[in-house]
Symmetry: C2
DNA sequence: CTACAGTATCTGGTACGCCATAATACGATT
DNA sequence: AATCGTATTATGGCGTACCAGATACTGTAG
C-alpha cells in the first residue's frame, strides 16, 4: 500500500461488505467456542442467525474452509474443523520457524524503536496477567508478534502466522491460563527482547523457538488430556 | 488423516463438486498465465466461459481471494492479484525457512527411503531439463519438495508452502528457464540430498536455504527488469 | 470544447426454486 | 417378527431472476 499520505483526507466509509462482517462474526463464533469442533454448520440456520442470505453464508463458509477452520464432509456439508494433536504440533513448529526468523531479523536490524515497541507490548502482557484479563493477554501477545514481524516488513509471514494461529486459538486460550504461564511466558518473551537489544540474532532466534516450544508442550498436554474424555 | 489402511477398499467415487472443478480451472488459468495479473475477472463473463452459474463463480472467486491469487477492489470487483517484488522476496524467504526446517528433519531421520525418494525426484528434474520440458521440471521440483515435507509428516507446512508457491508460479516458470539454472538448480538440490544422506541436519538446512536464495535472486532480477517496461 | 446528464456495466446482495443425496421412518411381505 | 423396499424429510449443490449502488462511458447542449 503506497501513497499513505495522499489519501489522508479520504472519507473513510464503512467499506466493509456484508460478507466480510458475516465472515468475522462466524470466525469469531468458531474461535471463541460458540460453535464447537465437530458442530454442523447448517446453511439455512446460519442465514437465520446472521440475518443474511444463503449466498453470503456460502461464501463465508468457503472462505473459512480455505482458512482451515471449517471442513466439508462430502454429501453432508460443513462442520467446524476438528483440531488433531499432530496438526497442532505442526502449527506450533511452523510458528517457531517463522517467529524465530523474524526475531533474528529484528536483532540484526539493531533499531531502538523495535525494542521500545516490543517492550511496550510486553508490558501490556504483564499488566493483563496481573489483572487476570486473559482476553487482553491474547491480544497483547498478538500485538507483540505483530510488531516483531511488521517492524522488519515481513507482512506476508505475519499473515501466515495469523492464518495458522486462528486454528489453534482455543488452545492458546487454554495454555495461557496454565499455572506458572503468567510468569514464564513473559519471561521467555523478555529473553527474546533482550537478545534483540544486544543484536544477538542467533540468541533471539533460539529464544523465540523456546517460547513456542513451551507453548506447544503445554498445548500437547492439554490436548492429550482432553482427547480420551471426549 | 489416520487409518490409511482401514479405508483401502473404499468405493472411491468422483465426489468432485462442480465448484471444485471450476476452482481448479480458474486457478490453473491464473497460474499459467491465461489470465494476466491485473486482469479483471468479470463474474458473468466467467459464468459464460466456465459454463456454470454465478453462485459457483462467486464462491470460486472468494476462495481464490483467500489464497491470495485474486484481489478485490472495492466497488470494482475482483482482479488477478499483482505480484510485487517485495512480496515475492518474502515468499521465497518463508519457503527457505520451511524447506530448511524440513530438510533438517529429513537429515535427522536418517532413513534410506527418504534419500531414495528424493533421488528419484531429482533424476526426474535432470531428465526434464535434458528434454527441455519445463512443465515437467516444475512438477518434478514440486514432487521433490513434497517428499521432503511428507516423509517427515509435515503436511501442514507443505500446505503453507504450496499456498505461497501458487502466488509466485509464473516467476518460477521464468527462473527455471534462466541460463545455467538447468545445471545449478539440480546441483544445489543434490547438495541437500547429500547432506541428508550423511545425516547432516545443519548442512541440509543451509543447502535448502541456498537453493531458494538462488531462486529468489533470479526472480528479483527477472521482476525488476520487467517492472519498468510495464 | 467543456460540462453535465443520462446510460450501460458491473458488483454486492437477496430471494426463490429445483434437483440429488442421505438418513430416517414407515409399512408391507414373507 | 425380521427384513426389505418405499416415502418423507433435511440439507447441500446449483441455477436464475431481480434490485440497489457505484463507476465508467457517451452523447448532447451550451
Amino acid at each position: 500500500m503506497s501513497g499513505a499520505l495522499k489519501d489522508a483526507i479520504r472519507v473513510e466509509r464503512p467499506a466493509k461488505t456484508l460478507r466480510e462482517l458475516a465472515l468475522d462474526k462466524v470466525r469469531e463464533a468458531i474461535v471463541n467456542g460458540y460453535f464447537r469442533p465437530g458442530d454442523r454448520l447448517v446453511e439455512r440456520d446460519l442465514c437465520a442467525q446472521l440475518g443474511v442470505s444463503r449466498t453470503v453464508v456460502r461464501e463465508v463458509l468457503r472462505h473459512l474452509e480455505s482458512e482451515g477452520l471449517v471442513a466439508n464432509l462430502p454429501n453432508k456439508g460443513p462442520i467446524v474443523a476438528q483440531l488433531d494433536i499432530d496438526e497442532a504440533k505442526q502449527i506450533y513448529e511452523i510458528r517457531g520457524a517463522l517467529e524465530g526468523m523474524a526475531a533474528r531479523l529484528c536483532a540484526e536490524r539493531r533499531s531502538p524503536e523495535i525494542v521500545a515497541a516490543l517492550e511496550e507490548s510486553l508490558a501490556g502482557i504483564r499488566n493483563s496477567y496481573r489483572d487476570n484479563d486473559m482476553a487482553a493477554v491474547l491480544t497483547n501477545t498478538s500485538s507483540f508478534y505483530h510488531t516483531l514481524f511488521t517492524m522488519v516488513d515481513r507482512n506476508v509471514a505475519w499473515g501466515v502466522v495469523n492464518l495458522l494461529t486462528v486454528r489453534i486459538n482455543h488452545l492458546r486460550s487454554m495454555t495461557i491460563k496454565t499455572e506458572r504461564r503468567g510468569i514464564e511466558g513473559p519471561l521467555q518473551m523478555s529473553k527474546i527482547v533482550d537478545a534483540i537489544r544486544r543484536g544477538d540474532g542467533e540468541g533471539a532466534y533460539r529464544a523465540a523457538l523456546d517460547h513456542v516450544a513451551a507453548a506447544s508442550a503445554i498445548a500437547e498436554a492439554v490436548l492429550s488430556a482432553k482427547k480420551p474424555a471426549e
